[in-house]
Structures are given as structure tokens and as C-alpha cells.
Symmetry: C2
Subunit: 342 residues, 2 copies
């Protein structure tokens, strides 16, 4: 479909446009990208590329700009895959050290990603619901309020306060906690909850008052968490990108960020699939976000996918470097989480 010359010119257009954010002319390509062809020849090639939909002109007789399709071809077939520098890799390694708490670590990773790139970092935290369960603890705060502490694998901790209808003693809570912990060791919270509900449906007789109470209470404590947690860092970066010099665009963007559910939707698509995922402009599964690309990669513990991290930038983004950054971070984070004691 695209011969070598077409591909070379497309590559040059993408590279130059990523660098300068200005439409690229035939002369620039001929001079700066080592083609031994005159601008006139380049022009016919560019006309071909335009007809095939890989590049576009902002207006008649301006230079060419890559289309989403052009970026896609570039990413799939032309892009080099640069390595991060050793210093950068070391820096990432420091941030994902094995100590501390997972949420804290993810927040730091977000800051790191946004510091190492001019884009917005997004990190989706593991869904507690889906994580293998290790333990639950209850702490009586008041006769009618109980603090629930949920511990999942890999240092994932979550606490919440729930109201209870009937007064309980700390002793009773401890017994219930022990019972739940035994019952559920290693299953996900979702499984646990379903199990509890199933048991509750069965045990109509309520011959064991304590057990009935434990079931009822446990089901309440494990009730579904609201939204997947999302950390966004470096949103101010976008204001630096020339494509968002327009106030109206900026507004839409920042509004989109406050509605994190949109971002979650995009990142969710990355939970399946392989090593990484790139959405370019119109490929984005959410309509509200325009003119942006996302590069995201899942991170794991052993073989289980925990969450997704990535960067969000203008379609005119340095895909090679951003991908290296995202992949490396995901890889190192996966390693750190896998090496974690429990």
C-alpha cells in the first residue's frame, strides 16, 4: 500500500510535526530528513499521502499535518522504540521501592510519570473488589459505628466506617472478623460477598444466631466500593501544549478531568489486552475527550492485572518516548509488587 518513499515521508512529517507543532512543508522534509529528492518530488508523495488519508492540510497550500490514521501507521510500523536512559530507569526504580503502601506508591508513580513527560499522568488503583482477600479487622468506634479495615494482597489496605443497627461488642466483632477471615482467605472481596449473600439466603432457619449476625454484618461491611480510584497528576502540563492555547479547549479538558469516570472508562479498556494500548484521537472510546491520545499499560502482581497506568497528551505526542516511559514504569511496578512479601 505505502511504498518505502511514502513511509519515509510520512515518518518525516510525523517526526517534524511532533517536534514543532507546525504544518510540515515539502522543503523542510527534503532538506532536513536526508532525502535526495527535490521538494517537488516530495510534494507528489505528500499529495498521495493526503489522498490516502494519512496527512491533511489545515488550509489550502499550507504544509501537511498527520491525521489520526497517519499517527496510527507511524506507531504501528514506523516508530523507533527508544530506551530510557539509565538515570531515568534508576529514578523510576527508586519510586517503586518495595516498602510502604500501595496507594501511596501509586500516587508517587503518577507524579513521577508527569515529571518525566510533558503529559498528564493517570494511574488507576487496584480495585479492592477484585483483589484476593487476606484479612478483615473491625474496630468499635461507638455503639453504632464500626471501622472496617480490609486487607488485600500486596499491601492493599482500605478502611471505611459503617453504621450498624444493633449494638455490638468488640469481642463479638473480633469473632466475626475471625470467622470472615477464615472463611474467605484468598478469595476476592466480590467472591466473598457473593458467598455471604448466598449463605444468608440458605440459612433461613437462623439456628445459629451468631453466625446469622456475622453473615449479615459481613455482607454490609463488604458492600461495593463506589468508583475505581484514579490518580491524575500534571494536568497543568496540558496548558503548555500549543494545541490547547485555545481557552475553550482547555476548559473542556479540565472539566473532563474532574469527571474522572470518563478516564476510568478509557483505562478500563486497557485492563484486558496485552502489554500496552495506544488510543489515538478519534480512536478514544469516550467522545468527550478530543484531540488527545492515551498510552496505557497494565501493571500486575504475579500474573494478576491489578490496575493501569498511562499518560494522556495531545495526539501530537512523542509516542516513542511516552511508550518507553509507560512500559518501563509498568514493568518496574509489576516487579516491585510481585516481589512484595504478601
Amino acid at each position: 500500500m505505502l511504498n518505502a518513499r511514502h513511509q519515509g515521508v510520512l515518518r518525516a512529517i510525523v517526526l517534524d510535526y511532533i517536534r514543532t507543532a507546525e504544518p510540515v512543508g515539502s522543503r523542510t522534509i527534503s532538506r532536513r530528513y536526508g532525502f535526495s529528492l527535490s521538494p517537488a518530488t516530495i510534494r507528489t508523495t505528500m499529495a498521495d499521502l493526503e489522498e490516502l488519508g494519512y496527512v491533511a492540510q489545515p488550509y489550502t497550500s499550507a504544509g501537511r499535518v498527520p491525521t489520526d490514521r497517519g499517527y496510527r501507521f507511524y506507531v504501528d510500523a514506523l516508530m523507533e522504540r527508544p530506551q530510557l536512559s539509565d538515570a531515568e530507569v534508576r529514578r523510576i526504580e527508586q519510586y517503586v521501592g518495595p516498602a510502604g503502601e500501595v496507594e501511596e506508591m501509586l500516587r508517587e508513580v503518577g507524579k513521577l510519570l508527569s515529571a518525566l513527560s510533558p503529559y498528564v499522568a493517570v494511574v488507576m488503583a487496584p480495585r479492592l473488589q477484585e483483589s484476593p482477600f487476606r484479612r478483615v479487622e473491625f474496630v468499635l468506634l461507638a455503639p453504632d459505628r464500626v471501622l472496617v479495615i480490609l486487607l488485600a494482597e500486596a499491601g492493599l489496605v482500605h478502611h471505611k466506617v459503617i453504621a450498624v443497627d444493633e449494638a455490638m461488642s468488640q469481642d463479638e466483632l473480633d469473632r466475626i472478623a475471625g470467622y470472615l477471615t477464615d472463611l474467605l482467605h484468598g478469595r476476592s472481596l466480590r467472591e466473598v460477598r457473593d458467598l455471604l449473600l448466598a449463605q444468608m439466603a440458605e440459612e433461613k432457619a437462623q439456628y445459629d444466631r451468631m453466625l446469622a449476625r456475622a453473615l449479615r454484618f459481613g455482607a454490609k461491611a463488604l458492600e461495593a466500593e463506589a468508583e475505581a480510584d484514579l490518580f491524575v497528576a500534571g494536568a497543568a502540563h496540558l496548558a503548555d501544549q500549543p494545541e490547547f492555547a485555545d481557552i475553550a479547549k482547555m476548559r473542556a479538558l479540565f472539566a473532563a478531568f474532574e469527571e474522572k469516570s470518563k478516564l476510568v472508562k478509557i483505562l478500563n479498556e486497557c485492563l484486558t489486552g496485552g502489554d500496552f494500548r495506544i488510543f489515538i484521537g478519534s480512536e478514544m472510546p469516550v467522545r468527550e475527550i478530543q484531540g488527545l491520545s492515551v498510552i496505557a499499560a497494565p501493571y500486575r502482581r504475579r500474573d494478576r492485572v491489578l490496575g493501569v497506568l498511562g499518560v494522556l497528551g495531545p495526539t501530537r505526542m512523542d509516542y516513542g518516548r511516552a511508550l518507553a516511559l509507560v512500559e518501563t514504569t509498568a514493568r518496574l511496578l509489576t516487579r516491585a509488587l510481585t516481589e512484595r512479601a504478601a
Copy 2:
């Protein structure tokens, strides 16, 4: 200093400018604000106000714009104090219901403030360090990692994971937790920590191994939290304000928001003082934030100030309404926290 006419004209200028964001001319004032004076007369008054520094002209022979000093006088002496509608008060009451966890509630309050005003909401969470202490719990995660759960008054909960040098059993942890809880009931974490360090310094003999260990471990568990927690909501609102139609200003603003420490510094100033605090433009204790005003009020539990909430907007802000909003929210939040069981 300012006679009645001066004040009336200043008030009209501020009101009109808040509404329209356009410099206010003598004619507008004469027509729209019920002065039975001709524009020419208004003009001489305006010239006086300008000389005294209450208003300024963006350029020769444009209308007048209030200066920071003008806003200050308006806020101190001229401003009406509108009431929130019943519906709004009810809405706030719903958000600050007595159940659930404090942090969660504060986050919601932030969203609420930004929904009820076109400004940015900021809510500073109680500093755990300063809160009266109720209880500590330890959970052994791995031989060398312990989950610390700190419970302060009013349902303030915090957890963190710490690394320990020497292996401990859960039994031992429970004993230490009990010891610490007994020792410290009702004091703030800061006091507790200082106490521990003092005791450690004294007990050089280490005659009681268990006690020494408890002290050492306790001190570590209570180590200072990083930053005061801050919730920011509705930052995208600022993009709607005409004064930030300039990209450069927006950039600076959003960058300032990511550096939350600046905001914390401002809000900290409000922790002392009485019912509320208003910083107008150049009065702001942090130089990085320009052209903005802050209205903030502390919220309490009983008589103890826990934190601060407020809104951040352009100096051209509807001070009356914003103040009503902030004060009411702080008042209702205080009531809810005070009524809380423990």
C-alpha cells in the same frame, strides 16, 4: 474619610464590576444605581475615589475598576450579607450528615462548595497530628511490615504501613497498642510522640525490654505526617472567569494548584482568627497566586478548630454570596462534627 456619596458610588462600581467584569462608567452608575445625580457629578466623585486609591482606570478615560483596597472597603463596610436559600441550606445539611468518615465527608463538602459557586473549593482536612487521640491498632502484615491504624476524635481515621527492623508477633503488637492507647488517651498525636521521645531519652537503663521496645516502636508509628491534606474541587471553574481568558494566567494558576503547599499556607493563616477570613488580591500571603481572593472559615468540633474550608476566586468575586456559602457550610459542618458520637 469617604462620605455617603463616595461610598454609594464605590458600592455601585464594585457591584457592577462583579456582575459584568467590565470597567464601569459614570453614565452606567447614574442610570442603573438610582443616583439622582448626573454622570458629570458622578465623575468628580469617581475622580476622588481614584485619588484615594479605591478604584483605578485600566487606561486613560476608560471606566473605573475597583482596586484591592476598594474591594476591601466594600467587604468591610458596604457589603450586604445575603442569606442562602432554604433549599441551599438543606442541600448543605444533607452533605454534612453525621454518618460516615470525616475525610470522605470533607471531600464531598468540597464538591458541594464548588457546585454551589462558580469558584474553586478548598477544604483542609484536620491535621491528625493535632487531633485528640483515641486509639491505635497494629496489624501484622508480614514479619517486617506492620499496618498502623490511628483513630482520633470525631471519626478521623488514618492508616499507614511501616517497616520494622525486628520481627514482632501480633501478640506483642497488641500489647504495645494497648499500652500506647492507655498512655495517650485524649492527647494529640504530637503530644504523644513528644512524650514517647522524652521517655525514651530517660529510660536509658532499658530495664524493661518490652517497654523499651514499645516506646521505640510507638515513636516510629507516630512519625510526622507529611503535609496537611487538602481537597480541591472545581478548578475548571476558573477557566470560565473572563479574567483568566489569558492562557498564561491559567497556566500559572493550575501549576499553583498542583503545588498544594501554597494553598495550605494561605489556609493555615485562617486557623487562628475568628469566624472567617477574607484575603483580597495582594493581601494574599503567598505571592505566586495573583489576582485571586480567598474566603475561608474554620470548622470545629466543640471548641477545637479542626480545619479550614473556603473558596478561591478572582478578586472580582461575589463576596457576599461566597461568604454566606462558606460561613454556612462551616457552621453546619461544625454542628455535624460536634454532634458526632466520638
